[in-house]
Each structure stands twice: as C-alpha cells, then as structure tokens.
C-alpha cells in the first residue's frame, strides 16, 4: 500500500517537473470552466468533440509545428500565411490547371516545405534571427498567395469535406485520427537521436556543436518537419472551409506562438514537449468556446442583457493574459519540485557517503 502511494507521489512529482505540467494545469482549469458553462450533458457528446476538433485541428497542428521550432529556440511568425499558401495551391491547381486534387494537395505540402526550407536556410545558414527572417517571409508569402489566388474562391470535392467532418463509427472524429498520427510521428521522433540533438541544440547551440552535432542541419530538418505539419494543417483548413481564401491564416502565426508558451514550452529553446503544444492550443480553443457559452448564459440569465461583441473579445483576451500570468505559478511549483529533487539527490549522496 505504502509503496504504491510512494510510487504515485513520485510519479506526480516527476510530472510536476515535466514541461507539460504548465499547459496541463491551464488546460484543466479552462476545461472545467467550459464544462461548467456548457453543461456536462452538452459537453460530453461525440458531436461536441467532433465540432471542437474539426474546427481547431489547423490551430492544433500549427501549434505543433511551431513547437518543433521553438524547441530549438526559434519561431516562425510566417506560419500563418504558409497555411494560406497550401490553401490557395490546393484550390487553384485543380481549378485553373486541372491538376487532380490529390496531386495538388501533395504539391501544396511540398510548396510549404519549400518555403520553410528557404526560411530555414536564412535562419540556419545565414544566421538571421528567426523572428526577423520569418517577419520578412510574411511579406513574401503573402504576396505569392495573392498572386496565385486574387480573391476567395473555389471549392473542394464534397466527398472531401464530408469525410473531414465525419466520425468513424459515429465516435471517433477523423480529425482526431489526423492529430493522433502527427502525435505518433512525434513519439517516434522522440525516440530517435535526431530529437536528442534538437534538445541539445535548443539547450545550448555551441555545446551541441562541440559535441559533434551540426546545429544548422538540425535546424533545417526542424523547419522541414514544421513545414510538413503546417502543410497538413493547411489541408485541414482547406477541407474544413471547403474553399480558398488567400488571406485566411495570417493570425495563426502569433496565435500558435502564444499557444506554445501557454503550454509550457520555453521560448529560449530546449524545454518542452509536443504535449505542451496540445495543451496550449487546447487552452486557446476552450477559451474561445467558454466565452461563447459564458455570454450565452448571460443573455439567458439577465433579461435585456445586450452587449456588443467587443466585450466577448475583451474577456477572452483578458483570460489569455491571465493564463499567461498563471504560467508563472505553475513554474513556481515546478521550481519547488526541482529543489526537492536536488535535496533528495544531496541526501542520496550522503547516504552513499556513509
């Protein structure tokens, strides 16, 4: 009994020290809030999960792509316009050139990977800070997007968007499977030496270099992986909206960065996991939906209550700010847990010494 308890405590302690702890706490809080506001009977339905996932898979995936870069201490604020790039290619190639859509979609992913590679080249080999380089990329990609597609238009085959919003066996949303596959890919990556090198370069680039790692190549690969995931995200966005819009994704750049930080990934690199990205983006998604239900409740509870949507935005942005501030409290417990760890280690040392 005691040993089981001990183990549980140890598990919890080590979880408290894990990077994903911050995101987990925030996510849980807003999850409870959302369940409370929406009512458990409405929240725990396949269609609700399906809806949340279907609409937010692009954000979740883009956050994962951003996380990949952030582990290396880099960011890409042009990731949003890259989403639109996939979208316009996936729509325009079939529409204008008659390219079969599966081919067009594959080309969309390749195009984003090419953009990511260019950005990666500037960051990894030209050594331009990623914030600045990706800022310049926004101009370039945005220009390309509008040249390819001058205004919102086009459709995707109905079977595609129908499938996208389907649930397998009425239970498991397709989008869940997509996110799961990317996550499994991450789990595989984590077991490879490449991922160790990512953490090493993120932790200290010079030392990683001194250990025989080529940081530029590691970064370049990360950009390609992030580009690939962004590509998938862009296709999800295309399937979700079933059409093209050259201006669709821009906001995702900064949003995905915020999601990563809220999930507990360190902007300085070397600290975090993909779970952080999931929790962080989940937090943003649920804030959105919680505020929706909050105001709905207010409309019902207070007769005559009528405010402009400005208030909704103010409330959700304020909660995000609070969430950000809350990350320091989780960080504090994390620090405490670390200290405990050190003390234990010191004690362990004493025992050995005796």
């Amino acid at each position: 009994m005691d040993r089981v308890d001990q183990k549980m405590i140890e598990r919890f302690e080590s979880f408290r020290r894990a990077p994903a702890f911050t995101g987990f706490v925030l996510f849980s809080l807003v999850l409870l809030l959302n369940i409370g506001l929406q009512g458990p009977q409405n929240f725990f339905t396949a269609s609700n999960f399906g809806l949340l996932l279907e609409k937010n898979t692009p954000l979740i995936l883009v956050t994962m792509a951003q996380a990949m870069l952030m582990l290396l201490g880099m960011i890409d604020i042009s990731i949003g316009v890259q989403l639109s790039l996939v979208n316009v290619i996936a729509i325009m190639l079939p529409q204008e050139l008659g390219v079969p859509w599966p081919v067009a979609w594959a080309l969309g992913i390749l195009a984003v990977m090419a953009i990511a590679a260019i950005n990666g080249f500037f960051v990894a080999y030209m050594r331009i800070p990623s914030l600045l380089s990706s800022f310049a990329m926004i101009y370039i990609v945005k220009g390309i997007n509008v040249i390819i597609m001058s205004k919102p238009q086009g459709t995707v085959p109905e079977v595609v968007w129908r499938t996208y919003s389907k649930e397998i066996g009425g239970m498991i949303p397709i989008t869940f499977v997509i996110v799961l596959i990317i996550f499994l890919f991450w789990i595989y990556l984590k077991k490879t030496d490449y991922m160790k090198h990512v953490y090493a370069v993120g932790g200290n680039e010079r030392n990683a270099y001194a250990s025989g790692i080529n940081p530029a190549r590691v970064k370049m690969k990360a950009f390609l992986i992030a580009g690939f995931i962004t590509g998938i995200a862009g296709l999800c966005l295309t399937a979700m909206s079933a059409s093209g819009n050259p201006l669709m994704g821009e906001a995702y750049g900064l949003k995905s960065i915020a999601a990563c930080i809220l999930g507990g990934i360190a902007l300085s690199g070397g600290w975090g996991t993909m779970s952080c990205a999931l929790f962080g983006s989940g937090f943003l998604v649920l804030i959105q939906s919680s505020v929706y239900y909050l105001f709905k409740q207010l409309y019902v509870l207070i007769p005559g209550f009528q405010v402009t949507t400005y208030w909704q935005n103010l409330v959700s942005d304020s909660i995000i700010l609070l969430g950000l501030v809350a990350t320091i409290f989780t960080a504090q417990t994390q620090r405490a847990a670390f200290k405990n760890g050190i003390k234990k280690q010191l004690k362990g040392g004493e025992r050995l010494g005796e």
């Binding site: 030209m126 220009g143 960065i257 400005y310 501030v325």
Partner: protein, 320 residues
C-alpha cells in the same frame, strides 16, 4: 583582400552610416527610375514619415537594448491617439487634459509589460503581445468602434505645416524628443545602466545596478514615448479610429533592428534607429514608384528586408 576586409569592417561597425548610404542609394534609384519624384514634396513627406516612425521607435530602441521587445507599441499609440482625438474634439487648449489621460494609460501598460517581463519572467514577446490585444479590445469598448473626434486645428497645423515647403513642422517636436531620448540613452546614468543590464544582467546586478528597476523603467519610458508618438500621430492624421496606428509595432521593430540594435540586447543607438526609420520609409517610397501590384511590392519588400537583415543582424557563427 585588405580592402575587402576594411570594407567588411566598415559595414559592420557603421550601421548608421550604412543605413544612410543605403537610403541614399535607394533614393537615387528612385529618382533614376522616376525623375519626377525629385521634388520638395518628396523630401517633406519622407522627413515627416521618418520622424513619426522614429518617435514610435524611441521606446522600442530602449526596450530592445535591454534584450526585450515591445509588441504593444502600436496599441498604446492607437489608444493615445483615440484619447487625443476624443478629448480635443476639434477644440483648442485641450492638450493638458489629453496628457492627463494618456500618461497614466501609458504608465500602466508599461508597468504591466515591465513587471511581466522582469518580475514574472514571462517572455517579452508574448506578454507584450497579450497586453497589446487587451489594450486593443479596450479601444473598442471605449469608443464602441466608431471613429472619434478631431484634433485641434492648431495642433494639426504644428505637425502638418511645412517650412519652405519641405521641412515639416514636426521637426520642432523632433528636436525635443531626440534630445530627451539621446540624453537618456547616452548622457545619463540610466542609459549607462541600461546598456550594462542589457549586456549582462547578472553582472549588472552584482555590480550594484538595480537591474529590475532599470529594466522596468525601460518598459515604462518606452510606453510613455509610444503614448507621445500616439498623440503626435493623432494630430498628424487629425482624426482616429481604433487600431489606426497598430502598424507601427512591426515597423518600429524593423527600424530598430535595421538601425543596428542587437536583438539580444546590450548594443544599440537611437540615431541608428532614426537612420533605420529613414531607410524603411525611403524603401516604401521607392516601391511606390514601381508600377506593380501590391503583391509584387510585398514580395520585393520581404526580399529587401532579408537582405538588410543578413547585412546587419547576423548572429555570430559558432566556429570562429
């Protein structure tokens, strides 16, 4: 070989000079393409826009010297501009009342940013972005989204008038602001402490510098300067809507970086920033001469930015 090295050295050590040289080159190209653009108005508008951008970038320079970044510059400017237009409502003599609103607003925003970055140790980019969002939302709640009043005629005249047809009256404000910022950065203890703190926070702390205070002050003063820039921006445009000055966030960052301030902190100058601002405005002007679509202009802008960054803000290689 030797010449080549000297050139490299010059390019690296003279960011201000280089920014000016590139600006001049761009301007020459501009005139070569379109000789008609050599006129008094060109100078007038380039100077005015450069000054406005360098006001907006003053605080950003200070903050980036500490190694931080402020994404709330634009939001603070817009908020200040709204207060200005709203309060003046076309009447004269309302400036004190404007200041009574703008100063506390900027102080509070700066303080939240500073405390968030310094005491709570949140990444500057993220906390200032979130604060900026909230400030933007407040603009809408405050104005209900509608354009606000008009600035006073006199105030607008003091900004828009052009002496001899090409020296904007705004230069009078520039004299005050430049002297104040240059004094703060280069001739005061605060400035000295700011540079040291930006370069090595630990060492600054152990040398007896109150690094937290210094850094928070940078955010507060930065925010105040953004507030001032907002007031001036409002006067220049004479009426304001929500978010109208938001684009200055990114422009200020680019101006500061192109002006040679290091993203990692510890090195930078306000004159550099002003030169950077000039470079950006001239570049914009140059692009507007090209008879191409906005998309193509956007692509060229991005490409030129990358080139400039590769020139200025390259990180050191690991292998030396």
């Amino acid at each position: 070989m030797v010449n080549n090295n000297k050139l490299k050295q010059f390019v690296r050590d003279n960011q201000i000079g280089m920014a000016l040289i590139i600006s001049a080159a761009l301007f020459t190209v501009n005139i070569a393409i379109n000789p008609a653009s050599l006129n008094a108005n060109t100078f007038g508008s380039i100077i005015a826009l450069t000054l406005l951008l360098s006001f907006a970038s003053a605080g950003q320079t200070m903050i980036m010297i500490t190694g931080g970044i402020d994404l709330s510059v634009g939001a603070v400017m817009s908020m200040a501009a709204i207060f200005t237009a709203n309060t003046m409502a076309g009447q004269e003599g309302m400036m004190p009342l404007v200041l009574v609103q703008v100063i506390p607003m900027a102080l509070i925003v700066g303080l939240i940013n500073g405390v968030g970055v310094v005491k709570l140790k949140l990444p500057a980019m993220v906390i200032t972005m979130c604060v900026s969002n909230v400030v933007t939302r407040l603009q809408y709640v405050y104005t209900q989204g509608l354009p606000t009043g008009t600035t006073s005629k006199f105030f607008t005249q003091t900004l828009q008038h052009r002496f001899f047809g090409f020296i904007p009256a705004m230069s009078l404000y520039a004299v005050v602001i430049f002297i104040a910022v240059l004094y703060l950065l280069n001739r005061s203890r605060f400035g000295q402490q700011l540079f040291l703190t930006g370069n090595n926070k630990n060492a600054a702390y152990l040398a007896g510098i109150r690094k937290d205070t210094v850094e928070i002050l940078a955010y507060v003063i930065g925010s105040l300067l953004a507030g001032v820039a907002g007031i001036i921006g409002a006067g220049y445009m004479n009426f304001v809507i929500c978010q109208s000055l938001d684009s200055y966030t990114m422009m200020s960052i680019v101006a500061v970086v192109v002006g040679g301030t290091l993203l990692i902190g510890g090195k930078g100058s306000y004159l550099g920033t002003a030169a950077g601002a000039l470079l950006i405005i001239v570049l914009g002007n140059c692009l507007s001469v090209l008879n191409s679509s906005d998309s193509v202009r956007s692509i060229i802008m991005g490409g030129v930015l990358i080139l400039l960054l590769a020139l200025y803000n390259k990180e050191k290689p690991i292998r030396q």
